[in-house]
Amino acid sequence: MILIVNTTENTKITDEIRIELESRGEDFEIVEASSMKISHCIGCNYCWLKTPGICTIKDDYEIILKKMVTAGQLWVISDTALGFLDYKGKNIFDRVMPLITMYLKFKGKQMRHVLRYKNIMNIGLIYRGDGDREYLKRWNERCALNFGSKSLGVFPEEEVKEAAVCMH
């Protein structure tokens, strides 16, 4: 399943993606998250050490988290701030902690957390505004390492068609 989380108020992007993916018969879900109640991660570590796999913050993020467990691809559509994703986009990533466990292992030369679920979720970004694309590419590749997955690419909104080609 392809999971697309749109943290911007612009639904034209998701409309375009929907039309494209429906025409190809892809299995996908779109979450319009801009109006959802999603807190920042408060770093309590409860999802690792007290309530394994469950976030202590009871808000709309749980809807997204449950979908991530079966998603083969995660695409986050985000506005930008200070050259990076804006805080709404970053919060989607910061809140993924319940998907990994407290346990550690080496993967190659670097330490990684052991994943909680067997599902592998590749990650793509679509951004609006003044984002530093080269840095976002680097960052997204690092993010994917934490999921044992790969980056699907980073695209400005003007290249949403190119991003959609990678959604399958």
Binding site: P52, L82, L85, Y87, M102, F106, Q110, M111
Partner: protein
């Protein structure tokens, strides 16, 4: 030298590893005759004061934990609301994480240099150090062993106003562990460390295995 210090951790001050690091770091600063004022991002009631201090201070130091390879969402939310300076201030950073190897923090460090520029400040460098997760789990001497090493770095920052001293670069430790260490630590993670985490979890009142899969599709 006087510095504005912002604790960029979203965790409340009482449980903040970053605050415990800052406590030792500022001891060193004071030892070199510097003064500071410290605020917490986790307390939104302080945000207006921090914005004002950000606009007035020449030396700005943000200490933060690495959250998914970059700055925490809450700190990003706050920084999106400050007025950029006009080049008359310098921003420096203390970047800390749970992962121990230096290479784990480099992507975040690269952003911090860009961030200083985006906020109209010169860049005073980043003090990069991992292996700090245990601060919260430890107390007394064990905690002191992890946080105490920051005092010498605070002394240097208080003296120089930046992290360009070679000792600050060396403070990071190894970029990656050599193979024999990886093998040894890998074994410890499967045995001693795993048991340690299980024990800590019981102490926190955890009633399920740490590897539990509550949302697994059955």
């Amino acid at each position: 030298m006087h510095a504005l210090i912002i604790n960029g951790s979203p965790r409340v001050k009482k449980y903040s590893n970053t605050d415990k690091i800052l406590s030792k770091f500022t001891e060193g600063m004071a030892g070199s005759g510097s003064t500071f004022e410290q605020y917490e991002i986790s307390d939104r009631l302080q945000w207006e004061k921090i914005r004002k201090a950000f606009s007035e201070n020449e030396n700005i130091l943000i200490a933060l934990p690495l959250y998914v390879e970059n700055i925490p969402g809450l700190l990003l939310e706050f920084l999106s609301t400050v007025e950029p300076r006009n080049g008359e201030a310098q921003m420096s950073f203390i970047l800390q994480s749970g992962f121990a190897e230096g290479c784990q923090l480099r992507c975040g460090e690269a952003y911090l240099e860009k961030l200083a520029g985006r906020l109209g400040c010169s860049y005073g460098g980043t003090l990069v150090k991992g292996d700090n997760f245990s601060i919260r789990l430890f107390e007394g001497e064990q905690r002191e062993k992890v946080t105490g090493r920051y005092t010498a770095m605070g002394r240097i920052y208080g003296r120089d106003g930046n992290f360009s001293d070679p000792a600050c670069k060396a403070f990071t430790g190894p970029e990656v562990f050599p193979l024999p260490i990886r093998l040894l630590v890998g074994l410890m993670m499967k045995t001693l460390a795993k048991r340690g985490f299980d024990k800590a979890a019981k102490g926190w009142g955890c009633e399920r295995p740490l590897g539990d899969r509550p949302y697994a599709v059955r």
